[in-house]
Structures are given as C-alpha cells and as structure tokens.
C-alpha cells in the first residue's frame, strides 16, 4: 500500500489536513460559543471572517476538507471493495483531481466580494 510515493503522500496529507481541520474546529466551537453573549459581541467577533486575509485562510481550510473527505472515501474503498487496493493509485489521482475541481469555483465565489464594490470583503 505504501510502496509507491502516492501512498506515502496520501497518508501524510491526510494526517496534516486532519489535524489542521481539528485545530479550526476547536476555534470554530469557541467563536460559535460567542452567540451566547448576544448579537453585538457575536457580530463584532465574526466580522473578522469577512476580511480578505481570513477568506484566503478559509481557502486552505476548504482545500484540506475536500482532500480529507475524498481521500477518506478512497481509504474506505481500499478497505471494503475487494479490488480497491489494485486501484488505490488511480483513486489517489482522482482524489486530487476532484479536490481541485471543487476547490477552484469555491475559491472564486469566496474571493469575488473582494473584487466588487461594497464592503462585504473588508
């Protein structure tokens, strides 16, 4: 399974993306907890998510989520589909392709407000 390079990189990317997503999840639970402090506190705090630099950071998060999700499906196919192991390398390239294909339009939509008039993107 890990003989080729793709097996090693798929494993390494899976771990790094997973730990990165976990770190964000803990932050996200904290920011959602601010709901209990009322609208003024919450809206003030989360306005940082609209800034151009946090939007760019969120693109990394979304790339990590997409890769981790698709590569997780690949792992499950290798585990439960009898012929999965034979196609694991092809599936790895499919995972990368699917990640990029979903990520590019998402990135365009998220960054679009920064190139438009108005102040949706600070």
């Amino acid at each position: 399974m890990y003989r080729g390079q793709s097996g090693m990189f798929s494993w390494l990317f899976h771990r790094i993306s997973g730990l990165g997503i976990l770190l964000f999840l803990l932050l996200h639970i904290v920011d959602i907890t601010l709901l209990g402090f009322g609208p003024a506190v919450y809206n003030d705090a989360i306005s940082i998510f609209s800034t151009w630099y946090i939007r760019i950071a969120s693109l990394f998060l979304i790339a990590a989520v997409l890769y981790h999700a698709y590569n997780g499906v690949r792992i499950i196919l290798v585990d439960f589909w009898p012929r999965g192991a034979r196609f694991q390398q092809a599936m790895f390239w499919t995972v990368l392709l699917a990640t990029i294909v979903c990520w590019v339009p998402t990135a365009v939509i998220i960054m679009a407000p920064c190139f438009q008039a108005g102040n949706a993107c600070k």
Binding site: L35, G38, I46, P113
Partner: protein
C-alpha cells in the same frame, strides 16, 4: 479476489513513520476499542462527507461569510432541524478529529508519562469542547444572553 485485501497483512507496508500505525487500509485492528475506533472513523467519515459539504455550501457558497451574522443564525435555529443537524455534526467532527489526534499521539509520543498526559488532554478537550458546543446550540435564544456567559460571569 479470494480474500478481501483489508485483512491481509502487508508484506512491505511502511508508513513513513511507524509500521504498526492503526491508520490506513491495511491495518484493521483485531478487536476491542481499536476496532471500534477503526469503524467509528469510517462510519462518521462517510456521514460527514455529506454533512460537511452541505454545511460548506450553505455557509460559503449560497451565502457569503459576511451574511452569516447573528440574525442569520437566529433564523436558522428557529427550525429545530438545523439545531439537530449542528449537534450531530459537532459530535461526529469533534470525536472523529480528536480520535485522529489520539492516533497521532500514539505515533509520536513515546515516553509513558508524556503519552498519559497527551491522552488525558485529548479526552479533556473532547469533554470541554463538546459541552461548550452543545450548550450553545441548545440554549441559543435570539435576543437573550442567558447562555454561556453567565457560567463565566464575564457579562452582567
């Protein structure tokens, strides 16, 4: 074809860091908690592929981040469906993620004392953050601040 690939121990399996890592397709544990953990990753993972992508589409594509303010949450949480949805997503994501951290700890933290400390920290994080998240989702009422801030005594 005679035997599922999953149960065959790999002759030349070598994850970059540790041969006996519980991660990956070739090392299904024999039983006990580790087998439960192995299935837990896969079951919550499949569910979350859908739940997380729906969450991302709603929060980042059909709405801009700048729109997901307090009133947006209030409108959303008027429907109990989304509270249940978020409770499930919180539970799956937190336990899936912290279980992954636990596996990473097993790979990198060798001394027994440090490993005990790391494992304890993982489970304390699980309890603390799950309580924080569930409390917020369940007690949220628009316009009131009867939730978590009273616990901390930060606001009057």
């Amino acid at each position: 074809m005679s035997k599922p690939a999953t149960v065959e121990p790999p002759a030349n399996s070598a994850s970059p860091l540790k041969k006996a890592s519980t991660y990956g397709a070739t090392s299904r544990p024999q039983g006990g908690f580790e087998l439960f953990s192995w299935y837990f990753f896969r079951i919550t993972g499949v569910i979350m592929v859908f739940m997380v992508i729906i969450h991302l589409v709603i929060m980042h594509l059909t709405n801009d981040v700048s729109q997901t303010v307090y009133d947006f949450v209030a409108a959303r949480y008027a429907n109990p469906f989304w509270r249940v949805y978020d409770l499930l997503l919180l539970t799956f994501a937190l336990l899936h993620g912290l279980n992954g951290l636990r596996i990473a700890v097993d790979d990198y933290v060798r001394p027994r004392g440090w490993r005990l400390l790391a494992h304890s920290t993982v489970w304390m994080l699980a309890v603390a953050f799950w309580l924080m998240g569930t409390m917020t989702i369940i007690t949220f009422q628009p316009g009131t601040t009867t939730g978590i801030q009273n616990l901390f005594g930060l606001l009057k």
